[in-house]
């Protein structure tokens, strides 16, 4: 597994809120703080714009990890958006865990506009964890296949 992982370049979708995390990512950029190119950022106005459907869609289309970044609780530009994000994602992630999908593939992090270094370190850490997990087979394998006798 480890040999294979050295070559493994995961696809990682990062949803970043416009006001804090996207700005934090910009700050990481202007500070030339490196993190892997595997991370591709999608800008959303607020973390609360992220529908669980988007996350599942990413996995469905082959993402190996999805991370959601928003303002720190209490600092949401829209005052309460990230509080809803927190509940929704707690529920969704626990649910995916319940289905046996690796916990490490989903994450929520609060990154402020001033935390460029933190943005980079969060991404480095997340990519490392996803690389260790390897390609996302489970979620695509959790599909309708001719039923074998397993689990019955």
């Amino acid at each position: 597994m480890s040999v294979e992982n050295k070559e493994f370049k995961p696809t990682i979708v990062a949803f970043c809120c416009n006001w804090c995390s996207y700005a934090g990512a910009d700050l990481a950029g202007s500070g030339r703080m490196q993190y892997p190119a595997d991370v591709k950022i999608i800008r959303v106005p607020c973390s609360c714009r992220v529908n669980p459907m988007f996350i599942l869609r990413a996995f469905q289309r082959g993402a190996d990890g999805v991370i959601l970044c928003g303002c720190h609780p209490g600092d949401c530009h829209y005052s309460t958006g990230n509080y809803y994000t927190r509940r929704r994602m707690t529920m969704l992630f626990d649910f995916l865990d319940y289905l046996g999908i690796e916990r490490g593939r989903t994450r929520v992090e609060w990154v402020s506009a001033a935390e460029g270094a933190r943005f980079a370190s969060v991404m480095n850490d997340f990519v490392k964890k996803v690389r260790d997990l390897g390609p996302n087979r489970k979620i695509t394998d959790l599909r309708c296949k001719p039923v074998e006798k397993e689990g019955e």
Partner: protein, 661 residues
Amino acid sequence: MQKIGVFICWCGSNIAATVDVKKVAEAALREPGVVFSADYQYMCSESGQRLMKDTIKEKGLTGVVVCSCSPRMHEATFRKAAESCGLNPYMVEIANIREHCSWIHKDIEEATEKAVILMRAAVAKVNLNQSLTAGKSDVVKRALVIGGGIAGIQTALDIAEAGYEVDIVEKKPTIGGKMAELDKTFPTLDCSACILTPKMVDAAAHEKIKIYAYSEVEKVSGFVGNFTATIRKKARYVNENLCTGCGLCTEKCPSRKAPNEFNEGLNTRSAIYIPFAQAVPKLAVIDPAACIHFKTGKCGLCEKTCDAKAIDYNQKDELIERRYGAIVVATGFNVIKLDNFEEYGYAANPDVITSLELERLMNAAGPTGGTLLRPSDKTHPKKIVFVQCVGSRGQRPCDKPYCSKICCMYTAKHSMLIREKYPDTEVYVFYIDVRTPGKNFEEFYRRAVEQYGVHYIKGQVGKVAENEGKLRVYGSDLLLNEQVVIDADLVVLAAAIEPDESAKKIATMLTTSIDTNNFLTEAHPKLRPVESATAGIFLSGVCQGPKDIPETVAQASAAAVKVVGLLAKDQITCNPCVARSDELLCNGCSACEKVCPYGAISYMDKEVNDHGKREVRRLAYVNEAVCQGCGACTVACPSGAMDLKGFTNKQIMAEVDAICR
């Protein structure tokens, strides 16, 4: 099908050195909808914009993708350019291949591959973009300034001078803030009160300025141009229309044990008091925690004394609701608590004081009438040790990581004033660095050393201990590499400053961000230093970061200009990226209404024609002037009726698909 043009910016070498821009341009042509692509050295330059505009016209583009720096930098620039040649500005999307790509990756192949994917996601989005039209909303031509220190006063005066109404809300019974407590100011040694009090009086007298002293902002709703603030005017127990500020009541008051906040607790005041002689507004206020009447129901001396009949024990807090177009935060700072700095013995020894306390001990209106006396035995200190960076520039949990900026200069000022007034007093200063980057600052510091013979010792103090009526200071001299022990009469700590505790609450209330040290964050560290990231919220003074008086005043005036620029407009353009509900899909379940932070969603019964079936349904309706476009409602909506313009479900999923392709 869209006709999309893709423009790849080199940003000089910022992008082109790590991203093969030609390759990105080639790849763009393979994307659906793309009819044109080009790379250019500086897309944001006039010629770059001209290239974009000419292509829009020549090729009849319906959409544009600019692969460049962050949209937070130039999205507005490119959208404006598109608009100028007839393309709806919201048909332009930015792929951030600088901050999110070229600047953070070194490998050209890897960075190019990522840039292509980011471009592809932006193209996928633009394929689904629709023209959007921004609405307009009215601007309330009044500003709110939270905090009545020098920052708030200056901002308010400048706004008022420009002809706009402005309210100052100050939580203390008087405006003036920390500057009112200072004795002299560096580097000119002006008397602080002499330069501040005229401004306080100007503010009070200005017909456009209303001061809500002893008041706090409790709630703020709304958005740029149209905020509504609830102000709690705390009960003074003194009728402000009747009180003449004569002060007779404060003399008669038998309860005299309350610590005097204005003198940093170095002496006491009466339960009914006027904070200081030049207070604005000059009105008495009862401290119910100290007042005998409030504690026992007896006394009532002040009421009997007051000829104006101003005392009103039954006064209640008053809630005032006012509308504002702009809000300025000027909440200032406090000196940190020194409880965790046991090595300096601040709590144990009355003769270990903070610099702010020293200001009061040297001030003619202070507890000693301006004569420098030790708090313990009221004798003249003959040997004084100043300790710099107490709690600043430290790594321990109780320390602040930042430089408090003002300490080097005020310590030079203190030592100079002391040596001037008491030439027989020896002054030592322990410092890490002496930082004097300001006009005439270095010269000022040199005077302290050369002209006034102040002993500067580079090194830190490890311990201050009481020793036979003196304070034994154990320090180190890093230049001579030796231990220093000084038996001092007085130790003055240059304690770090931190944002006032109200800053965090107010930041939350205003939905603007604060950093890890609780300073409010400016919209851009270099280019937008007095604006917060939230439109219509501006920053003035130390709430944004440590500053001295001239810097604070400069920033206060800058904030005022920004406010005036906003208030000068009759209408402002709203964000067109707002939520919209599809009538035919709406269940009327109210989930969206519950999560909306702005109350922008209401319900109405409306007849719909659902594929020939006519019926009256309960439908969500979004007030576009109120909606700020967070999108919380779109996820709460189970049927997918609620969507966010500019960030629709399909657009975001198209981006996801493009990235995961």
